[in-house]
């Protein structure tokens, strides 16, 4: 009766972060039902400093301690540098 729940999240990188890591979109399988943003960052990060990184879940700004659920979109971006 239940639709099988996805255990994937979408990870989006923007601007210099996408360029530094060499990709801008990836789907990751998460263990369990939730995961901290910080753990995703550790998982994908090569060796970028964590300071001044803006984080969003489903396009709303949040922080590294927030929890990600399956099907969420999490994004990592540098500070905005305007128009």
């Amino acid at each position: 009766m239940e639709t099988k729940k996805s255990n994937k999240i979408k990870v989006v990188l923007l601007s210099s972060i996408a360029e530094d890591l060499g990709w801008d979109e990836k789907f990751l399988t998460i263990e369990g039902s939730q995961m901290k943003v910080f753990s995703v960052w550790n998982l994908i990060n090569s060796n970028l400093p964590q300071d001044n990184i803006i984080v969003s879940i489903n396009q709303e700004i949040t922080d590294m301690d927030a929890m990600i659920n399956p099907d969420d979109e999490v994004a990592f971006m540098p500070i905005f540098t305007g128009g």
Partner: protein, 158 residues
């Protein structure tokens, strides 16, 4: 890099309008078309153009502006709606370029009309600072030698 289509997003009604554009535009034509349906006694406008040199003083070949499709639009939309609830005689038009923009081409156009000059000028400046600091836009400068992401905002000039 993600590429996006030209977008035209009227918010709710004629009073707030913004576009994110991938092609260059004639700001005066945009102002004129807009003011035809938004005539008010005080009308303030701003046009920001690409500088001819990069942050290090080298000749600029082109500027690249990237946004986060969906999030950028929502942030702008929510902000403009919040302003227009505070001040009920405002009409706002915001147009922002993304993609490659060449020296002297317009990046941003803002038009605000109101019943009083103080109100029109105040919100024009607020919207301009908002687009510089609070909206997911990123800038990369291309010179004839290479490219680099801009690390911080341009200041007000004081």
């Amino acid at each position: 890099m993600r590429w996006h289509l030209c977008q035209f997003l009227p918010v709710d009604n004629l009073r707030i309008k913004f576009k994110i554009l991938e092609e260059t535009f004639n700001p005066y034509k945009e102002f004129e078309l807009w003011e035809k349906v938004n005539k008010n006694s005080a009308n303030s406008f701003f046009i920001g153009r690409v500088r001819p040199s990069d942050q290090f003083g080298n000749d600029l070949k082109k500027l690249e502006i990237v946004h986060y499709k969906g999030m950028t639009e929502n942030y702008i939309k929510r902000y403009l709606m919040k302003i227009s609830e505070k001040q009920d005689d405002l009409c706002i038009f915001l147009l922002h370029r993304i993609g490659f923009i060449y020296p002297n081409e317009p990046i941003i156009l803002i038009a605000v009309s109101a019943n009083h000059r103080g109100i029109a000028n105040k919100y024009l400046q607020e919207i301009l600072e908002f687009t510089k600091y609070k909206v997911p836009f990123w800038k990369k400068e291309w010179t004839f030698k290479g490219s680099s992401w801009v690390k911080k905002n341009t200041d007000l000039g004081f």
